[in-house]
């Protein structure tokens, strides 16, 4: 057993750290964790794209850097510690791996390179008003007519649909047999007539989420990924992906560091043993999460499937993100109250804490609620 990165990986870390120090734009920093400014986010992603580091989990042949799992982990860690936001996951971590596995050559050539350069932005059309945790009961219909599918239905909770050039959708192509069997995976251009977006403002006060209405939307049949009826298999494949960064350990370390700074700056909080204990508790929890995450990374780096330890990463990771933001807000006291307006004489960590706290309530809901995660794990454990 050896808990340190190899000298090569340490050299790689130094290289990434130096680049981040010189290239993370100042205005990205304060917006951390809440991607609300499209132009800032896009400029940052294109800068990474130009460096060849945007699609950092991808192999070289599709425009990624071809890094090892360990290098990917180190990169994401350094990105977070530099105060830069995570990049939009929909094209990079969701559609990308799906196309590499299930897409045909034409689809790979058409869609992957612009994602890797940060030129085309994707959103995800999964949830519907009647299909949340029970995703397979989705109703959006796609009916084949000649060379096209005609799509009718509604998607909801669609993050950054208003920024997106494309949406990848789970649609129903059949009502026969088990509901999972009639689902297909379709790529849709957001500029197609018949698509209407309605914004949903979330409790952090921002517009990230949308409803997407699809009315007689004509989608070329060549935009079907895999076979008709294979959509559920593809959706499940996505869930097994990205286990090594799902816990958000480095982002939480960054937020802990900021909280430590804010507390150290405060003459009362810095002397309060109750506050010291609260911070120590969070940090110890974070350490346990970090080493669990590293155990998973170690397996993936060796070409093994993630172990059962990885099942808890999403649950624990989101709980901890929420707990850290809660501490930031509560320790900020009255300084955390000014709402969507500049607070005076307040440490920026405390000033932004309320929005982060509210924003992060979604983290234990999206990507499969923590309760659904527990159902899945219970099934594995109990084998009833």
């Amino acid at each position: 057993m050896n808990l340190d990165f190899s000298p090569e990986d340490q050299a790689f870390r130094a290289e990434v750290r130096a680049w981040m120090r010189d290239n993370v734009p100042q205005q990205v920093g304060p917006a951390i964790g809440i991607p609300s400014h499209k132009e800032t986010q896009f400029a940052w992603e294109r800068k990474l794209g130009a460096k060849g580091w945007l699609a950092y989990t991808w192999p070289k042949e599709y425009g990624g850097p071809g890094w090892t799992a360990t290098q990917q982990y180190i990169f994401d860690t350094e990105r977070a510690l530099a105060g830069a936001p995570p990049c939009g996951p929909f094209g990079l971590s969701m559609l990308g791996p799906v196309l590499m596995r299930y897409g045909n050559e034409a689809q790979k050539q058409r869609y992957l390179p612009p994602i890797a350069r940060g030129e085309e932005f994707w959103c995800q059309g999964y949830s519907e008003p009647g299909a949340g945790s029970d995703l397979a009961s989705l109703k959006t219909r796609a009916i084949r007519e000649g060379d096209h599918y005609i799509v009718n239905g509604q998607k909801i909770w669609t993050t950054q649909a208003h920024w997106a050039d494309f949406i990848f959708c789970l649609v129903r192509t059949s009502n026969d047999g088990p509901k999972q069997k009639g689902i297909s995976f379709l790529l849709i251009d957001m500029a197609t007539p018949g698509i209407e977006i309605r914004p949903i403002t979330t409790i952090d006060g921002h517009h990230h989420l949308n409803e997407v209405f699809l009315t007689d939307v004509r989608v070329p049949a060549e935009n079907l990924v895999g076979e008709e009826g294979q959509g559920w298999t593809i959706a499940k494949y996505l869930l097994t992906h990205e286990r090594t960064s799902i816990a958000g350990v480095a982002d939480s370390y960054y937020q802990m560091g900021r909280l430590h700074e804010a507390v150290a700056d405060d003459p009362v909080l810095s002397q309060d043993p109750v506050v010291t204990r609260r911070l120590a508790t969070l940090e110890v929890d974070l350490m346990a999460l970090e080493y669990t995450n590293l155990r998973t990374l170690d397996r993936v780096a060796k070409g093994q499937p993630p172990g059962s330890e990885s099942s808890g990463l999403k649950i624990k990771g989101t709980e901890l993100q929420q707990a850290i933001s809660e501490a930031q807000m509560e320790l900020g006291g009255l300084g955390a109250l000014p709402w969507l307006s500049p607070a005076e004489d307040v440490h920026p960590v405390f000033a932004g804490a309320t929005q982060r706290y509210n924003f992060l309530r979604a983290s234990s809901i999206y990507g499969g609620t923590n309760e659904i995660q527990k159902n899945v794990l219970a099934k594995l454990l109990l084998q009833l």
Partner: protein
């Protein structure tokens, strides 16, 4: 980076599993509770023959020069098999301490061979688990010392043939400097042992020392420099006890999982009820998080950077201090009535994990120590 165990470590674990589960188990645990000092001397000799008592001792002293990670493999097995013999208090802690103090190799050899039993007396009624707090005094007197003081809950003291006692040769009550270590025969005049069984098994004693005279050769290590080795050795014992707790936590998880599959109510296995499923998942996650902390602290405890070592071990003990209680409480709850009885092993694991929370520093102590030790 590599989280896998070596071939030797896997073999060590295999033989420890065999010892702890096949050769031990609930019946053996119960019969050992009837023995004086809760220690079966046959088993202790067996541990010596297997090389475990001297596992981490230097080779020139008859040890195997093993690592803390090696030790953790044995401890995890002992925890899962609820083995009562005082491996940590009687071998890991005194072994590390004597090695660090470069004690006489004969003494270490006796430990490795199981010929002598040791106990380390460091905690005091008001020390709140801080080894630097030491009011027991050793006054220089002619060519020796005169010791007076009070030690609390000294694990394995009733079995010990040698006590290693921390006593202050200079400085104030809270100073790390000025603490010296003495090897003392528990039969000495001026030393009074009040033995008692500890919750979950094992024997300890409170010790009153009144005008106890020892020769200069009783001192182990350097005068006034006893804190540093004591701090390191206690961290080794703490990391080892975390590994042992992990073994017990995992055993409870396994038993609870089986119980949820097997026990039927409302004509269904109770594991089909979602509220219980989620509780089991929460236990599983806590066991895995704890396993990560045990791996981490078993490696980092060997760090030559005191801050790295202290933070790692204190983080692990603080984490497991809470996680072990959670797992033990849920195991009892999910077993229902039978869980609160002495008839099932679950309740005994529960006691052992409750005791674990208070041994080698509570969660509160280690959170304080963690916060007081900045990362480098």
């Amino acid at each position: 980076m590599d989280f896998s165990y070596s071939q030797e470590q896997k073999m060590l674990r295999e033989s420890a599993d065999k010892f702890a589960t096949k050769g031990y188990g609930f019946e053996r645990y119960k019969s050992t509770l009837e023995l004086p000092g809760h220690c079966d001397s046959t088993l202790w000799s067996q541990m010596a023959e297997l090389g475990w008592l001297g596992l981490s001792l230097p080779e020139e002293a008859g040890g195997l020069g093993g690592s803390a990670l090696d030790v953790s493999q044995i401890c995890e097995s002992l925890g899962s098999g609820m083995v009562l013999e005082p491996y940590i208090a009687g071998a890991v802690l005194p072994g590390r301490l004597l090695s660090l103090c470069e004690a006489d190799t004969d003494l270490l050899g006796e430990l490795a061979e199981g010929k002598a039993q040791f106990a380390v007396a460091w905690a005091e009624p008001d020390s709140r688990e801080d080894p630097a707090y030491c009011t027991t005094r050793a006054q220089a007197d002619g060519d020796g010392y005169v010791l007076s003081g009070h030690k609390q809950c000294v694990l394995n003291a009733p079995n010990a043939t040698t006590l290693i006692v921390s006593a202050r040769t200079s400085g104030g009550d809270h100073d790390a400097d000025g603490i010296s270590l003495f090897a003392i025969d528990p039969q000495s005049a001026g030393l009074e042992l009040k033995p008692y069984p500890v919750m979950g098994g094992g024997y300890a004693a409170d010790i009153r020392i009144d005008q106890l005279r020892v020769g200069a050769d009783a001192m182990i290590g350097q005068t006034g420099k006893g804190f540093a080795p004591l701090d390191v050795a206690l961290d080794h014992a703490t990391a080892a006890t975390c590994a042992q707790a992990l073994g017990a936590m995992n055993a409870l998880l396994e038993r609870t999982r089986e119980y949820l599959r097997m026990r039927k109510q409302f004509d269904k296995p109770i594991g089909s009820f979602q509220v219980l499923q989620h509780r089991l998942v929460d236990m599983f996650i806590e066991v895995e998080q704890s396993r990560s902390m045990v791996m981490m602290s078993s490696v980092r405890v060997e760090s030559t950077e005191p801050a790295v070592r202290r933070r790692a071990v204190s983080a692990a003990k603080a984490y497991l201090g809470q996680a072990s209680k959670f797992v033990a409480q849920q195991a009892v709850q999910l077993h229902g009535g039978i869980g609160v009885t002495e008839e099932l092993d679950v309740g005994h694991y529960f006691r052992q994990l409750s005791a674990f929370g208070s041994l080698y520093g509570s969660r509160e102590y280690h959170l304080r120590r963690f916060a007081a030790t900045p990362a480098e």
